[in-house]
C-alpha cells in the first residue's frame, strides 16, 4: 500500500554503538539507520539488547562508544527531556501511565512540552493558560478520536483492561506530535484480536501523521507484517538487517530464534 508520505531521507543513524553495564556488554558495535516515515523494527530473543537500544535512542542510557545522529545532528549529552524536545516520543513495555488519572488527563500530559504558559497562569486559569488548554484539548480529542477511545475518555486508567491501557499510552506519545515514535513491545501480553487492532493503529499513525516508527517486538509474525525493514539483535550484536523477507530466511536469525545444537 502506498503511503501519504513515502519513505524519505535518512532520519537517524546509529554507528558502532556499544553499551556496557560493568562487565556485561548489552550492545556491541551495533550500526543501523532509520529513514523518515519508515516502520523499522528491532527484534531479537530475550536479552538481545532491544530495550537497551531503545533506551539509548531515547537518551536514557549513554553508550560508551559510537555515534548517533538524529536529523544530521549528533547526540551529545542526551537525556530523555532533550530527546522529547527533538521530537522523539516513546511508550513503555510495562505501561507507565498515571493510573489514578483519567484517560483524557493522561493524554493531556503528552502535550506538556507544548505548553508555554507558566505555573501561576495555569494555577489561576488566566491569560494564555485558558487559550492554550482549549487548543491542546482539541489536539488531544483528535487523537482520542483517531485511536477510538472516546468511550473511556473520563475513566481512570487503572480501571481499563490491559489492551486499552496500551492504546492510551500510544495516544499520550502521539500527543507530543513526535517525529519519531519508539514503541517498546506494543503487542506484549495481548490476545490476537488486540494485536490486530494495535497493528492497524500503528499503521494508521504512520500513514496519517507520517510518524517514523521504531518498534521492538519479539513476536516475529506481527513484526514481519507491518515493518518496512527489520534489525535483528542477538547477545548485543546485530546479526541481520533488511526487509522482512530477507530477515526471515536468514540462517543466523533462524538459529538465534530456534537455537542451534552445540555438538
Amino acid at each position: 500500500m502506498e503511503r501519504s508520505q513515502p519513505v524519505g531521507e535518512l532520519l537517524l543513524s546509529v554507528e558502532d554503538v556499544s553499551l556496557a553495564f560493568g562487565g556485561v556488554k548489552a550492545l556491541n558495535g551495533v550500526s543501523f539507520d532509520v529513514h523518515s516515515h519508515e516502520v523499522r523494527a528491532i527484534i531479537g530473543p530475550n536479552g538481545a539488547g532491544k530495550s537497551s537500544m531503545l533506551n539509548v535512542l531515547n537518551g536514557v542510557y549513554h553508550p560508551q562508544q559510537g555515534t548517533i545522529r538524529f536529523r544530521g545532528e549528533e547526540f551529545r549529552d542526551m537525556d530523555s527531556h532533550h530527546a522529547a524536545e527533538l521530537g522523539i516520543a516513546r511508550t513503555f513495555q510495562n505501561i507507565a501511565l498515571f493510573k489514578g488519572m483519567t484517560v483524557l488527563d493522561n493524554v493531556m500530559t503528552g502535550r506538556n512540552l507544548k505548553m508555554r504558559c507558566n505555573f501561576l497562569e495555569q494555577a489561576l486559569w488566566i491569560g494564555r493558560a485558558r487559550r492554550e488548554e482549549i487548543e491542546h484539548r482539541r489536539a488531544v480529542e483528535q487523537i482520542i478520536d483517531f485511536l477510538e477511545i472516546q468511550h473511556v475518555r473520563k475513566t481512570p486508567v487503572g480501571r481499563l483492561p490491559y489492551g486499552l491501557q496500551k492504546r492510551v499510552e500510544l495516544a499520550r506519545a502521539l500527543a507530543a506530535e513526535p517525529v519519531m515514535l519508539l514503541l517498546d513491545e506494543p503487542m506484549a501480553g495481548m490476545n490476537l484480536e488486540e494485536k490486530q487492532d494495535m497493528c492497524r493503529f500503528i499503521l494508521d499513525v504512520n500513514d496519517h501523521y507520517g510518524t517514523t516508527i521504531v518498534l521492538i517486538e519479539h513476536d516475529m509474525g506481527v513484526v514481519m507484517d507491518i515493518s518496512d525493514r527489520v534489525v535483528v539483535l542477538d547477545y548485543g550484536r546485530k546479526i541481520a538487517d533488511g526487509t522482512p523477507e530477507t530477515v526471515r530466511n536468514d540462517q543466523k536469525v533462524i538459529d538465534a530464534y530456534l537455537g542451534v545444537a552445540h555438538a
Binding site: 502506498e2 483524557l104 482520542i144 477510538e148 468511550h151
Partner: protein
C-alpha cells in the same frame, strides 16, 4: 402549504433559525447545528447532488449511524424530489445488495470506511450504483475507485452551484407536494426477503403532527437519536417529527458512549424498543447486587413503595398521605438519583414499541416516575396507530387508537388498520401490496388481538404465531418469552408448543448478569459455552422458569401453557446467524428448523443432547462449536381455578 419535508425545513430556518436543530458530540464537545445551518447544509448538498445528476424520483441510499450529515443528506435528496433510502448500518454487505438492487439505487452516502467497503463489495451486483459519497475520510485515502467522492467535495461544489443560481433549488423545493414519496424504508423482514415500504410526505407529516399536538410536543423538546436511522421507529422521532414540531435531536458520539451521552443531554422525549429498557434494568440490578448492604436495603425498601403507589401518584390518582410521604422520601433518596443515572431525569414522555414489553419491566420504569408508555404501529402505518394516554396506562394493552386511525378485526382476530399514515405501496411488489392492503384501504397487520372494555387495544401475538396445544389451550409464544425475559439472567427465550402436548423452551443466558452471579459464588468458567452448561446455572434458570409457571397458573386461559422442559443454548442467538432480525426479534420458525434435533430432544424425554453448530463471526468467517446440552425439567403448577376448587 407546508406539505413536504424540505418546505418544513425552510420554514423552521425562517421562524426559529437560531434555535438548535441537531447536536452531535464530536471531539468530546456537543456541537450544534441551528435550523439555519441545517437548512443551508441541505441546500448546498442538494445543489451538489443535482449537479452530479440526482433527479426527481430516483433513489439515494444512506448508510450510517445517526449523524447530522446523514439527516442533511436525507433532506437534500427530498429537496430535489429524490427519495432517500436509509439502510441498516450494521447489516452485512450481502444484506445490502437486495435493497440497492431492488430500488435501483444510483447514489449513496456512506458514513465511513466500514460502510464504503460494504458498498464496494456489492458494487458488481448493483450496476446502477455509480456515486458513493463518504463522510469520514479516515482510511479511505488510498481508495482509487472512480465511484468514490468525499462529502466535503460534494458540499463544496454544491455551495458554489448554489451561489451561482439560488433560484434553482427554491423552485425544485416548490415543485414538491404532499403526495410525493418522502422515503423508502426496507422492513427488517421477519419473514422472507425485505420489502420496501413507500411512504409519502403526507403520510409521515400528518401522523407526526397529530401525535405532536396530542402529546403537546414543542420545539423545546430534546430527543437522543441512538437507534439505526433506517428503522422507522428512529427515523420518525429523529427526522419526521422534529421537522414538524421543530425540536432538537442529539447524536451520540459512538455506540459505546450512549449511556454517558444520554446523561449529559437529558432528553425530554424518548423512544426505545423494550430490549433497551431491559438492558438498562439488568445493569441497574447487577450494580445494586454489588452495592453495600444499607444501600441495598434502601433500594429494595423504596422500590417496594414505588411498586405499590408510584404509578398511581404519577397518574394523579388518590393516594394516602403516608404513602405520599414515603414516596417523596424515596424520590429524594432513590428514584431521583436513579433517574439521573439513567439519563431519564427530564423525560416528559417515553415510548416503547416495536414488540411487546414485559409488564413487570414496564411497571418498574413507571413506578420510578418515568412516564413510559406503549405505542403500537409499524413501518406501513407511519408508526403511530395506538398510544397509551397519560392518565390511563394499562401495562397489558397498547392504548386506544390515535385520532384519525380506524381499527377492526377479522374473524381470526387479525387486526386491520385504516389511517392517513398508511403506506402507498411496497416498492415494485404489487402482489405483496395487494395482500397487505385491501380494496377499501384496510391494512392487514398480521397481529392478533382485541379491544378491551376501556377501548384499549391488546395485542396477543403475531396472528400466525398464535397456536394451540393439543388440549386446545391457547399458545402465545411471545407472551411466554417476554415473561421469561424479565429475569435479568435470561436474555432471550424461544418457546415451542403449537400442536404439541406441552410447552418447552430454549433459553439464552444473559452473560453479564450470570457472570456476575457466578463470580459471587466462586464458580469457575472459561467462557460463554462453559458457563451456559454449568449445573448451577441450569438450576438458576429453573427457578426463573418455575416462577413464570407459578404466574401462568393464575391465568385461567393459558395456565396449561406452562414451560415443562427447557435447555440452555450453547451460543447467543445472533442476527448474523439469521436467528434474530436486525431489530432483534427471534425468528422462531427458523430457529426451530435450524435446531430441529434440540427441539426433538425436548419432547422425546431425553436428558441431554449433543450439538454441533456453525457460527458466523462479524468479519464473515465461519467456525464450528460443539457442546452437550442438558435438558432440565421445571415444576409446573395446577391452574389457580383448579386449586381453589380442590
Amino acid at each position: 402549504m407546508l406539505d413536504t419535508f424540505p418546505k418544513l425545513l425552510m420554514h423552521h430556518a425562517g421562524v426559529r433559525g437560531e434555535r438548535p436543530a441537531i447536536r452531535e458530540k464530536d471531539l468530546g464537545i456537543w456541537q450544534t447545528w441551528t435550523w439555519h445551518e441545517f437548512a443551508d447544509e441541505a441546500r448546498f448538498l442538494a445543489c451538489g447532488l443535482a449537479e452530479a445528476g440526482l433527479t426527481r424520483g430516483s433513489h439515494f441510499a444512506l448508510v450510517g449511524a445517526n449523524r447530522p450529515r446523514i439527516y442533511a443528506a436525507m433532506a437534500a435528496a427530498q429537496c430535489l424530489g429524490a427519495i432517500p433510502v436509509p439502510l441498516y448500518q450494521d447489516a452485512v454487505a450481502a444484506e445490502m445488495a437486495f435493497p440497492l438492487r431492488n430500488a435501483e439505487v444510483g447514489y449513496a452516502l456512506a458514513e465511513d470506511q466500514e460502510q464504503v467497503d460494504k458498498l464496494l463489495e456489492v458494487l458488481p451486483q448493483c450496476p446502477a450504483l455509480k456515486h458513493i459519497y463518504y463522510d469520514d475520510p479516515r482510511g479511505l485515502r488510498h481508495y482509487a475507485q472512480p465511484e468514490l467522492e468525499s462529502y466535503e467535495a460534494l458540499l463544496a461544489r454544491g455551495r458554489e452551484s448554489y451561489r451561482r443560481d439560488p433560484a434553482f433549488l427554491e423552485s425544485e423545493i416548490a415543485k414538491g407536494n404532499g403526495t410525493d414519496t418522502a422515503a423508502l424504508f426496507f422492513t427488517s423482514g421477519t419473514t422472507g426477503t425485505p420489502k420496501g415500504v413507500v411512504l409519502t410526505n403526507t403520510n409521515l407529516i400528518e401522523r407526526s403532527r397529530v401525535v405532536a399536538d396530542w402529546e403537546h410536543i414543542t420545539d423545546r423538546d430534546v430527543v437522543l437519536a441512538f437507534m439505526p436511522p433506517a428503522w422507522i421507529g428512529q427515523n420518525i422521532f429523529s427526522y419526521a417529527q422534529p421537522l414538524v414540531a421543530g425540536y432538537c435531536i442529539c447524536c451520540p458520539e459512538s455506540a459505546e458512549t450512549v449511556t454517558t451521552d444520554m446523561r449529559e443531554i437529558g432528553p425530554t422525549y424518548y423512544f426505545a424498543p423494550p430490549r433497551v429498557f431491559e438492558a438498562l434494568l439488568t445493569q441497574v440490578s447487577v450494580r445494586m447486587d454489588d452495592a453495600a448492604t444499607p444501600k441495598k436495603w434502601l433500594y429494595h425498601y423504596f422500590m417496594g413503595v414505588a411498586r405499590r403507589v408510584g404509578e398511581r401518584i404519577m397518574e394523579g390518582k388518590p393516594v394516602g398521605f403516608l404513602a405520599r410521604l414515603q414516596y417523596a422520601l424515596g424520590d429524594l433518596f432513590v428514584y431521583g438519583p436513579l433517574r439521573n443515572v439513567l439519563g431519564m431525569g427530564r423525560i416528559r414522555i417515553a415510548y416503547t414499541g416495536g414488540e411487546a414489553i414485559g409488564p413487570d419491566l414496564f411497571v418498574f420504569y413507571r413506578s420510578l416516575g418515568v412516564n413510559l408508555k406503549q405505542l403500537y404501529g409499524s413501518t406501513e402505518t407511519s408508526v403511530f396507530v395506538c398510544i397509551q394516554p397519560n392518565d390511563k396506562v394499562k401495562p397489558d394493552t397498547v392504548g386506544p387508537a390515535v385520532p384519525g386511525v380506524e381499527l377492526k378485526f377479522t374473524r381470526e382476530r387479525e387486526l386491520l388498520i385504516r389511517s392517513p399514515g398508511l403506506f402507498k405501496e411496497y416498492y415494485k411488489n404489487p402482489q405483496a401490496t395487494l395482500e397487505a392492503k385491501d380494496a377499501e384501504g384496510w391494512f392487514h397487520t398480521g397481529d392478533a388481538g382485541y379491544i378491551d372494555a376501556d377501548g384499549h387495544l391488546k395485542i396477543i401475538d403475531r396472528a400466525k404465531d398464535v397456536g394451540a396445544l393439543t388440549d386446545g389451550t391457547l399458545f402465545a409464544p411471545k407472551y411466554l418469552e417476554n415473561k421469561l425475559k424479565f429475569f435479568p439472567y435470561i436474555k432471550e427465550a424461544v418457546c415451542f408448543g403449537d400442536r404439541r402436548d406441552k410447552v418447552c423452551a430454549f433459553i439464552n443466558i444473559d452473560m453479564e448478569a450470570v457472570a456476575n452471579w457466578a463470580e459471587k459464588r466462586n464458580l469457575a468458567y472459561s467462557g460463554y459455552v462453559d458457563l451456559a452448561s454449568h449445573d448451577a446455572v441450569s438450576a438458576l434458570v429453573r427457578e426463573c422458569v418455575e416462577k413464570v409457571n407459578a404466574d401462568l397458573a393464575q391465568e385461567a386461559e393459558i395456565a396449561n401453557s406452562q414451560v415443562h422442559r427447557f435447555l440452555i443454548l450453547h451460543k447467543e442467538l445472533d442476527a448474523d446467524d439469521e436467528e434474530l432480525t436486525r431489530t432483534r426479534k427471534v425468528r422462531r420458525r427458523f430457529i426451530g428448523e435450524k435446531y430441529a434435533p434440540l427441539v426433538a430432544a425436548l419432547y422425546d424425554g431425553s436428558h441431554s443432547v449433543h450439538i454441533e453448530a456453525q457460527v458466523r463471526y462479524e468479519d464473515g468467517r465461519t467456525g464450528k462449536i460443539s457442546a452437550d446440552l442438558r435438558i432440565a425439567e421445571a415444576r409446573s403448577f395446577p391452574p389457580a381455578a383448579a386449586r381453589r376448587a380442590a
